[in-house]
């Protein structure tokens, strides 16, 4: 990629949002029509990095998210490409009417980066967690929806968002994600194709965001404990979803488990289920996530465990699904 100067050292030291900020600054240097907007979250979402470099192309709307998205749509309808950032929940919930009518319906290039997604704002609790955005945003016509798995992949997703026509929604986590790609130059990111993180033909875990790392851990554990070949698909793009990769998984593995830091109603699992149902071939299937429930206050790793979407939880589900016992007392920490 042109202009990429970051090393493995850089990405391991950067929060996911900082990777977003760096990508946006790079885009800003290449494309003068890019503008950026936030609603008093320039620092938290890291869109402020763009604001520092391009103060004349940056707007802080104050604590007024609905107005921010309307203003972004007005800019985008008149030749600008608008990146807008707030916490994911204040985009997908508070501002949905503006996103629906001003952005999706008008089909304008507003690129929404919702930060602090899933349970990543752990101790802030359910008012600041966002477990509904994948369902909401993927139901909007014209939108592309992406949930990268770490900072380096976020960098690529943000760069891709500029090239993808029309509106884009990217959900990213607060703080530091587990590093899956230490070197941003080695991310095999094609925005409309799932990435195969691990090969295997016994079953497939399809995951996005935080759950990609957990699924890779689970895959290692099941290989070590029961010699199971567990394929892991990183379905970073939930819409349009990579049907081909899902159908291949049905044909080659016959068992699919989905994992997402999101409710199981309408998100990644539902998107995969739609493909399975339409394909019509029998396939063992289980959706993991927050099942019709709000999250609670706590550290994200605890909240993932409580929802059964950490590595141990995923192993337990697979065990029930295919009738194989794992010794889940194995220390998966050794797998780091």
């Amino acid at each position: 990629m042109g202009g990429m100067v970051y090393t493995s050292l850089d990405t391991t030291k950067l929060s996911t949002a900082e990777c977003y900020g760096l990508a946006l600054c790079e885009l800003g240097r290449e494309h003068p029509e890019i503008v950026a907007l936030t609603a008093d979250l320039a620092k938290s979402t890291k869109i402020g990095m763009f604001g520092k470099e391009f103060p004349d192309r940056f707007y802080n709307l104050g604590i007024a998210e609905q107005n921010m998205f309307g203003v972004a749509a007005g800019l985008a309808k008149n030749g600008l490409v608008a990146f807008a950032s707030t916490f994911a929940i204040f985009a997908a919930a508070r501002s949905l009417d503006q996103i629906h009518t001003d952005i999706a319906y008008m089909n304008v290039p507003v690129k929404i980066i919702g930060t602090h997604a899933g349970t990543s704002f752990g101790q802030a609790g359910s008012t600041h967690h966002c477990l509904i955005d994948l369902s909401v945003m993927r139901s909007l016509p014209n939108f592309t929806v992406i949930n990268p798995c770490d900072g380096a992949e976020t960098f690529h997703a943000v760069k891709a968002a500029y090239d993808i026509p029309g509106p884009v929604y990217i959900r990213i986590n607060r703080g530091f994600d587990q590093v899956i790609y230490p070197n941003v130059q080695d991310v095999p990111f094609e925005w409309d194709k799932a990435t195969t993180m691990k090969e295997g033909n016994d079953l497939t875990i399809i995951a996005c965001g935080s759950c990609v790392f957990e699924s890779m851990q689970a895959s290692r554990m099941m290989k070590a404990d029961a010699d199971l070949g567990v394929r892991v698909l990183n379905m970073h793009t939930i819409k349009p979803i990579d049907k081909e990769a899902i159908i291949k998984a049905i044909d080659e593995t016959g068992v699919i488990v989905t994992a997402e830091d999101h409710v199981t109603q309408g998100g990644l699992g539902s998107a995969v289920a739609e493909v399975i149902a339409e394909y019509g071939k029998p396939c063992k299937f289980k959706m993991l996530g927050h099942d019709n429930s709000f999250s609670t206050i706590g550290l994200q790793e605890d909240l993932l465990a409580m929802a059964g979407i950490d590595a141990n939880g995923i192993c337990n589900t697979v065990s029930e699904l295919i009738g194989v016992d794992f010794d889940t007392e194995l220390s998966w920490a050794d797998e780091y």
């Binding site: 709307l61 007024a64 009518t101 001003d102 008008m106």
Partner: protein, 297 residues
């Protein structure tokens, strides 16, 4: 201002009255073609629409996306029953499109889709969105080094939506003197009178407090409309730093005597007999308007 801008004399006033009358009749005709429509709030908006499109806005119907054009946002999107006739009459789309208003598959309907209706700058319908869009469009003028005006028409009941006031704050914060909000203050909403349901008065004071230059006028008086819009444009051209709000005191259903001022005529349809009465009422109303222009012009 358009290149052929003329002083507002009696001749100009009468020209605008004639155009407004034609558009009122065409709006009633559109209700007939579509079978029903938001007739009340359409008629209260029509004088402002007429003077904007036929006196002030820089536009080219042959080039709807002309980057230097002035922009218009119908935040009270349901007034499309009056706005669509304005656009069709202006030459953006053929009358045949208006004849199928609201029918299945039509490009033009109850709330306009800017991706289908030429000359329509943004899609509206959900209330409380237009001023935010207008702020974005005005900021785009800065980014693109253009100098156009952005006119946003809101309803008065619509101002109950809090998003308007988020947008108003930002218009003032960003010193968008090219933004002109026109409040169609017809004092009625679907369920009754604004003052009884959720009062927005003193609406002029509210906008003033939010950082606007505010003018309050009779929204059915072409001279007052002219002077207010001229003042707003002059404010922008002379380096003003505030957006302008023009509070237009209007009457819902203006010109059609049997619906004027009646909140139950937010939306409706006419019988054949009522259409005849409506056109007759508009003719009589036009005579009064001409008489005023003749006397005061």
């Amino acid at each position: 201002m358009p290149a052929d801008y003329k002083p507002f004399d009696k001749q100009e006033w009468l020209r605008l009255e004639k155009k407004a009358n034609d558009l009122r009749h065409l709006t009633v005709q559109t209700v007939s073609w579509g079978g029903s429509g938001h007739i009340g709030g359409g008629m209260s908006a029509l004088d402002a629409l007429t003077i904007l499109y036929h006196r002030f806005m820089k536009l080219d119907p042959n080039d709807p996306d002309w980057p230097d054009r002035d922009r218009f946002v119908l935040s009270k999107g349901h007034a499309a029953i009056a706005y669509a006739p304005v656009l069709v009459d202006y030459g953006y789309m053929p009358e045949s499109e208006l004849r199928i208003f609201n029918l299945t598959g039509a490009k033009i309907g109850m709330h306009l889709d800017c991706n289908k209706v030429k000359g329509c700058d943004v899609s509206t319908g959900s209330l409380g969105h237009g001023l935010s869009l207008g702020v974005g469009i005005a900021l785009a003028a800065r980014q693109n080094k253009k100098d156009y005006m952005v006119y946003v028409m809101t309803g008065d009941g619509e101002l109950n939506e809090g998003s308007n006031w988020e947008a108003a704050m930002s218009a003032a914060q960003f010193k968008l003197s090219n933004v002109v909000v026109l409040v169609d203050n017809n004092k009625l909403m679907i369920d009754g009178e604004v003052k009884d349901e959720m009062n927005i008065e003193p609406v002029d004071e509210k906008f003033r407090t939010f950082g606007f230059d505010v003018l309050r006028i009779d929204g059915h008086n072409m001279k007052e409309l002219n002077d207010a819009i001229e003042k707003a444009i002059a404010n922008h051209q002379n380096g003003g730093t505030k957006p302008t709000a023009i509070i237009m005191d209007t009457v819902k259903g203006e010109g059609i005597d049997f619906i004027a001022g009646d909140y139950t005529w937010h939306y409706g349809s006419f019988s054949d007999e009522m259409f005849e009465k409506a056109h007759a009422s508009l003719d009589a109303y036009y005579q009064k308007r001409v008489a005023r222009a003749e006397k005061e012009g």
